[in-house]
């Protein structure tokens, strides 16, 4: 009964955001071709107040649902099965509602399309040039103004995979990106369910904690972020390790890292835990294969992604915890010395976790802690970065990781709420 009420609140909040968002450009909805025009006419233009109320309601219902599951664990096969069907239905409905709606809260997907169109339609290397080099292209005006001069920071595998989508036309590629994000999300969820079962954890809470997470649904899927593809590879690697297939598991980590570099954080812990040559051979083979495949497309410039990541590491966002702590101590923002201190803190955490993994701590949990530490110590924090550790957190026995990840997400959401208390008009 209570669980049903929570599900209804989550669905209502998602519908509110999507239907209001369908009305078009606002401070929360990026400029975009009208892809959800048929949803217009029901809502009002999405403003901060309505969005934040919906997000808070969604988050409250999500927390309620998780607490209900924690307080009364599912007993018996029949109850498990019924709950599983119910959880899958809820997650599917939430994600499909977001899928049919507009692009939410981020212009990143237009950068993905721009890089693909640069390579396929204009013969321009996206590792050397920013979208500014295709100023006349239909996608250009939708790319975020901060990223127009920026060469891609995504892995060569992602760029290669995105190339065929450029052939579908601008609107076609936008839908294709949304579909890829949805399928990646479903793959991540299916693999998470499998991992939970392999670890003899109840799959229903794991599935709900991930698939019905407000930041996952609204920000991750709503923005069609490639982080969902990264998490699919990540969970693929974890599933393969649990099945004792170390070489393909290590290959999956490397492939994930060649989508988005963050996945590489799993590799040292996997190597330390498995301690066999198959892991290293699998990783190297995947690396060589992608290098060979991407060489004709990008030349050696695919390696420029490393420089791009260094550049991005220096960026500062107002939502980062580093900025918040700087403000707490009366500083206007983050200074270069703070970047160094944060890197040192991250290094200390990674060394501690590596030592613990060597001495038998769960490598999946260690990887999750590292991903969480990366997002917390990053000076450039976006909502979907707080999702990285979540799939790993729901399949580890160290419950502290799940609570810490959810606490960080809660703080992120709390930080967005200032316009609710004092709207600028």
């Amino acid at each position: 009964m209570l669980a049903g009420a929570c599900a209804l609140v989550m669905l209502a909040a998602t519908l509110e955001i999507v239907l209001d968002g369908a009305l078009g450009h606002s401070s929360l909805i990026p400029k975009s071709p009208t892809i959800a025009g048929w949803l217009q006419g029901v809502g009002e233009r999405l403003g901060f107040r309505i969005f934040l109320i919906a997000l808070l309601a969604f988050s409250g219902a999500y927390a309620g649902l998780l607490l209900l599951l924690a307080r009364s664990p599912l007993k018996g096969m029949l109850e498990q099965r019924r709950a599983m069907r119910w959880a899958i239905a809820l997650i599917a409905v939430l994600q499909l509602v977001v899928f049919v709606g507009p692009i939410l809260l981020s212009t990143d997907v237009f950068s993905y399309i721009a890089y693909a169109r640069m390579g396929v339609l204009h013969g321009i290397n996206p590792y050397l040039n920013g979208p500014i080099s295709i100023k006349g292209d239909a996608v250009y005006k939708y790319v975020g103004s901060d990223w127009r001069h920026t060469a891609t920071a995504y892995g060569p595998l992602y760029t290669l995979l995105s190339y065929p989508l450029a052939l579908l036309g601008f609107v076609g590629s936008l839908w294709a990106m949304k579909l890829v994000a949805l399928l990646a999300s479903f793959a991540t969820l299916a693999l998470t369910w499998r991992c939970a079962r392999q670890r003899e954890l109840s799959p229903v809470p794991a599935l709900l904690a991930l698939g019905a997470n407000p930041l996952y649904v609204i920000y991750g899927l709503g923005g069609a972020h490639n982080d969902l593809i990264m998490t699919a590879f990540m969970m693929g690697a974890v599933t393969l390790t649990f099945a004792g297939r170390d070489a393909p598991a290590a290959a999956a980590v490397v492939l994930g890292a060649l989508i988005k570099a963050t996945t590489a954080a799993l590799l040292p812990f996997m190597v330390l835990a498995r301690r066999n040559t198959a892991t290293i051979v699998g990783a190297l083979l995947a690396l060589v294969l992608v290098a060979l495949a991407s060489l004709p497309a990008f030349g050696l410039h695919g390696l420029d992604v490393v420089a791009a990541l260094n550049r991005d590491a220096a960026l500062v966002s107002t939502d980062s915890f580093a900025t918040e702590i700087a403000h707490l101590f009366g500083k206007p923002g983050v200074f270069p010395i703070d970047h160094d201190l944060l890197k040192l803190a991250l290094l200390a955490i990674v060394v501690h976790l590596a030592w613990r993994t060597w001495r038998g701590y769960d490598w999946v949990a260690a990887s999750g802690w590292t991903l969480l530490a990366i997002s917390v110590t990053s000076t450039w924090l976006l909502a979907w970065y707080t999702l990285w550790s979540l799939p790993l957190a729901v399949v580890t026995r160290d419950r502290r990781l799940l609570w810490a990840t959810l606490a960080i997400q809660a703080l992120f959401i709390a930080h967005q709420t200032a316009p609710l208390f004092s709207p600028v008009s």
Partner: protein
């Protein structure tokens, strides 16, 4: 020589383990304490930032209201610049002198200082800007009120 034999050469406290040994839980306690302390710090920083943002939003709203009240124009597109260099609460609010696209006409700017009183702030001076120009000192003209003493316009 297989891998497990290689590790056997290491002293016991350096050898890898398949599973953690259940100890007294001291390490876990230390980790959990540090984790809770870190989360408390982040929570305090978050609340502090929300309060700061709320104050800033309140001030910006007062700036907009003041500009509209002084000029008598109920325009929507008024730009407010904060003093990001000096970190003071002195803001500059600029808007068109007559109806038109934002920045397409000469603009009148007010220097706004002091606390928010009855939803407004003190506008004791200001200057003008030509159309399509950024608020840089060389672009300003017609300084009035406190802006003259503060030499906000070029001579």
């Amino acid at each position: 020589m297989n891998a497990s034999t290689t590790w056997q050469r290491l002293p016991e406290r350096l050898r890898p383990r398949e599973r953690e040994v259940r100890g007294r839980g001291d390490l876990r306690r230390v980790e959990s304490t540090l984790l809770v302390l870190a989360l408390i710090l982040l929570a305090i920083a978050t609340v502090n930032d929300v309060v700061l943002q709320t104050h800033t939003n309140g001030r910006l709203t007062a700036d907009l209201r003041t500009w509209r009240a002084v000029t008598g124009h109920n325009y929507h597109n008024i730009s407010v610049e904060q003093d990001l260099k000096g970190h003071t609460t002195r803001d500059v609010a600029c808007g068109n002198i007559a109806p038109g696209a934002p920045g397409a006409l000469p603009q009148v700017c007010f220097v706004l200082t002091g606390p928010v009183v009855h939803g407004r702030r003190a506008a004791n001076g200001g200057f003008h800007l030509p159309p399509f120009t950024a608020d840089k000192r060389p672009n300003r003209y017609g300084c009035f009120g406190s802006a003259v003493q503060q030499r906000l316009c070029p001579p």
